[in-house]
Assembly symmetry: C2
Homo-oligomer: 350 residues x 2
């Protein structure tokens, strides 16, 4: 990387165009591939390699969650609770059988990774089983994973990752927490990064709340080797956002209110506050397992969005969302790099 | 101030010795006076002025909370819930009548402030009424208050404060939140500081998760004029901590687990996780009003502490508590100043 910027993998949002732009500009673009079918990932990587990622590093991202257990009772309770909203939105009373959820990283994904051999693979919610990890690293692929506590960072280092993303509480999207209690894993970036830097010897990438060069410079001063930014790239035309999500984000008052919630997916993730988050707050932690809850909430989000309402859709965003800038991803990378240098050159009290 | 360090006011913990040491070393010492009787504050200020604060700025701190409403039903429910713990700790079944709680900043405190004329007064939970504020500022006293959201920072600026403490989610002790929903006011320092700096024109003091010079340097890069550190000073011999609190903090595993909880005082505050925080988690937000809840929990904490147990006492601490250092406050200030300069001089990627 020529600039110390990782564009965070954002499932379904950061696709080949964005990855090409960021990697082409000297950062590390990350394909938001964790929820994509394997054949789509293959096609997307081909597009990246035909573009800015041709000669530059880029990352492909996978989830390593424990597969969900179907709890029929919780599912029915959730359906009952959501029934009035389905009626309000004109959805049929019956939800019908849910399709199989996208699986975590498994043998077929491993085969794809080994055949595509992307420069970097990043994992969220832990790591794959040891043999898969060894095979990936033996193929010369750099492996990243996310820690939300010092304990998790130590586990990742013991398992041999090449670098650790220290994900602060400010970060948008899913908390990467995989081995700590969620309540113990809500540590702000400014507190988390130096603790992880002190605890491990691999490079640490700071994530959470960083949207400009001053934030990147601050992360570097805290001992990070680079900064990972997700929300900052949501203002880019390359971000695959539906117009409603994009419009909501552009309203500073709406963008300032985010919450870590399990209500959209079944796992804690930071999103903009909307009617679903507020009216179902008593169900936090009582949803069907990740990612089964998506089957309950996604139809509501889509139906409301079709009516122009952001009441029910999942709009992932971090705590600096009110400060994002609308510009192409390559230009954003260059701007961030320039701001970072300026912040470090003109630092106060020299 | 010669060094850009505010020692956070810590009620009953940062008394004259610490204030003298910090102000003597070129920082801003803050008397943890918010829960002290007025005559004690007067005596403490006299001690500060006889010591390191003689010719240097120091701050006196007050709470501006709305006085609590006594909710007999909530109080009885809390007593019932705590009864088994009282039995376990050998406390009498009957709690007896509670004394009057310490009042928020009022006419007598104003009179004291005007007669003592400390260089700085800092407020928590908002500000006093306009006439009191005007009287204080007309007397040439610098006024600080805390914001936990951009909206609160704008209110404080409109009301004429001289500087704003931007208190990130990482901070130990009571959240200063006074005009925002508590759930919207859990913003990490790295995200909060630049947003408040952009929104107001008065100097911003960054607080939350900062315990070393790199953290201070990062805060300055984010646009803060100074950093406020509380937890960092808990390792100092001047900190008025009972030995159990001090010993618990010195265990990195215990110090790494903090939680924002209403259970100790009735208002959200970050403290080390102990048995009380875990076993009463379902009562979050259902306690008697601040500070009445202290009457319910303080006797449990004291009785357990007398038996050497940290199961029930309120041990305020921020998210970097595992990194605090045991050294005298003046030495800590000098160390922090040196580290800050070094971090800014030797910043990476120049």
């Amino acid at each position: 990387m020529e600039v110390p910027i990782v564009q965070a993998p954002m499932a379904g949002i950061s696709l080949a165009d964005m990855v090409s732009a960021v990697s082409g500009a000297g950062g590390l673009g990350s394909l938001g591939s964790s929820t994509l079918p394997l054949e789509t990932i293959e096609a997307q990587v081909r597009v990246v390699r035909a573009g800015g990622g041709a000669t530059r590093p880029f990352a492909v991202n996978f989830f390593c969650h424990t597969p969900p257990k179907l709890d029929e009772e919780r599912a029915r309770a959730m359906d009952r609770r959501l029934a009035p909203y389905r009626r309000e939105l004109g959805l049929p009373e019956e939800t019908g059988p849910h399709p199989a959820p996208p699986p975590p990283f498994g043998p077929q994904a491993l085969e794809l990774v080994l055949s595509l051999s992307p420069p970097v693979v990043s994992f969220h919610f832990g790591l794959p089983e040891p043999r898969a990890l060894t095979a990936i690293q033996d193929a010369g692929i750099v492996v990243l994973s996310t820690a939300t506590t010092v304990a998790e960072a130590r586990i990742l280092e013991d398992r041999g990752v090449d670098a650790i993303v220290a994900q602060g509480f400010e970060a948008g999207g899913h908390r990467g927490t995989f081995a700590s209690d969620f309540a113990d894993a809500q540590i702000g970036t400014l507190a988390l990064v130096p603790q992880i830097v002190a605890a491990v010897s691999v490079p640490v990438i700071a994530a959470g709340g960083i949207v400009d060069g001053r934030g990147i410079a601050a992360a570097l001063l805290l001992g990070a080797a680079a900064a990972q930014l997700g929300t900052a790239f949501l203002g880019c035309p390359e971000a695959q956002l539906d117009p409603l999500y994009r419009r909501t984000l552009s309203d500073p008052a709406a963008a300032a209110r985010t919450r870590v919630t399990t209500l959209f997916s079944g796992r804690p993730a930071r999103a903009l506050v909307n009617r679903l988050v507020e009216e179902l707050a008593d169900l936090e932690g009582k949803t069907p397992d990740f990612p089964l809850q998506r089957f309950h909430t996604a139809p509501l989000g889509a139906a409301a969005a079709a009516r122009g309402s952001a009441d029910f859709n999942a709009m992932w965003a971090g705590q600096s969302a009110a400060r994002l800038r609308a510009m192409p991803a390559a230009e954003l990378c260059r701007t961030l790099a320039r701001e970072t240098s300026e912040a470090l050159e003109h630092s106060p009290r020299r």
